[in-house]
Amino acid sequence: MFTTLYEDKLVVLGGIIPLDGRVSWVPEGATGFQPSNAYLLTEGSSRLLVDSGLAVHSQEILEDLAQLIGEGGGVSMFFTRSEMDCVSNLEPIAGRFDIERLFTGGVINPFDAFDDLSRLALRGRRHQIDAQRTEEGDSVARAAEIEIAPGRVLEVESPLLRLLPTFWGWDQETGTLFTSDTFTHGMMERPDGARIIDSTVEDATTVEQVAGHLYAKYEWIPRSTCGPLREWLQEKFDALDPEIIAPSRGCVLKGRDVVRRHLGFMLDALTPQLV
């Protein structure tokens, strides 16, 4: 069941992952439940879906989309990463809705995962968002803009804090920063718990929890030079002052106080001697 984050502008949809020892991107021994997120940005009749969720949640995603955009409706898509937690519902979505445009990075066209007939029809709808690389290959300041509708864009950049090729998105209209596989630490004790951490929720997050989730996937952080990563992150948040952090996994973090608190956790997690 989807949840509205910003009326008529932004919803989060997706399923819940039970943490039972079979998930690699959470700390060893983690229990509870983790949301898996896709986000639908809406402007009038135009829509952009950020990531597509997990295949195991395919039916939930499809039913939510049908309710939000109408059966067979048109939608553009943007993948923050080409990893399976972001892309694995591309084919079922394409089978039921009209994918108008697909924005991805990397050398592989995700439509190539399809059978030939579908691929033939869809391949040309892909837009490469990282065609122009910087000399150093690092973070690209506002490298690309995805027009959701005239007057509303999603600004895209490749973050300095990443593991594999990754893109963050910034929607100024809703103050939302899409952070892909960082800020994924918000857990739920029960599958029907709150998937949004805001000022109405008791937030028991600790820096150890944030570090545990970060290091589970970014296992190199504790042995790395993290100063540049902290500086980049601090500057990014100072410049954008986001209202919402929207990761591809974990609870959505909503409200500037919540965002600032969790930024502090993350900066401390990027100072491993503090954890």
């Binding site: 992952i17 020892g21 079979r22 998930v23 690699s24 991107w25 898996s36 997990l54 295949a55 195991v56 080409s82 990893e83 399976m84 937690d85 892309v87 694995s88 050398v107 592989i108 995700p110 190539d112 995962a113 399809f114 030939d116 691929r119 033939l120 391949r123 690389r133 290959g137 990443r162 593991l163 594999l164 589970a216 996937k217 970014y218 296992e219 190199w220 952080i221 042995r223 790395s224 030079t225 993290c226 100063g227 540049p228 990563l229």
Partner: protein, 275 residues
Amino acid sequence: MEELVETMSSDLPRTVAKGVTWMSSCLPFHLEDRVIHGHNSTYLVQGDHSSILVDTGNPSSWPIISRTLDGLLDGKELTYVFPTHPELPHTGNLPRLVEKYPQIQVIGDVRDYHLFYPQIEPNLHAKVPGDKVDLGGQEFMVVEALIRDLPNTQWGFAPQAGVLFTADGFCYMHRPELDDEDPVHLPGECGLTTGELQVPIAVENAAFFTGSALYWARFANDADAVYDRVLHLIDDLGVQSVAPTHGNFISNIREVEPIIRAGHKRAYRYETAQP
């Protein structure tokens, strides 16, 4: 019509060690003045009664892989598949393999796969480093991945053949003039081992590739520790050759390792930066 299927060199498949066949489909990159290729290799290890496929290849190369397996297996079923880690070039054909060989066992660190491919959950069989499968006069052993990006990456080793399968480890470019961050080669070089290449690997290209594909190398200044462990593993296991997914088959690992190590060191960015 645009070419939709990745091409395979007429030099492949090729037997590269006892019971080990190098199957590679090559992704063509069309530049302004030339075409270059990027390996996306799979390897078939065959014993007297069983066989294992290391990595699955891209979905777009499934017709080639399926056809090549038909020829190599000569009517037998494929017994095992070992996906080194869950990125599309390594796992994207898992559903097709299960459909073609319903009894196949998917072995390795299979965390997350039930979320990405729920339809193949009965075929998943978790293995840890040190676990072996008997192929009949040939074994396949799961090995800890010492160079990796995703946390659920594993390497494999075929003791009787002396081949170490290293996934994204030991991927490199060998032509300094090819300015791309993917490990590429020229048409005609698809089926050559490193010992057969006319142009040696360049440290600067190994550095560029390492800093891009193994992004953490920019931040972690521990190349010597990493490659010392790799050399210990090579000695302990008696490795004769190394089989990466992207890049030519490495027949002269003792000559190649110092170049990759030097490239890895050069990928580190922050020699004088704060910790």
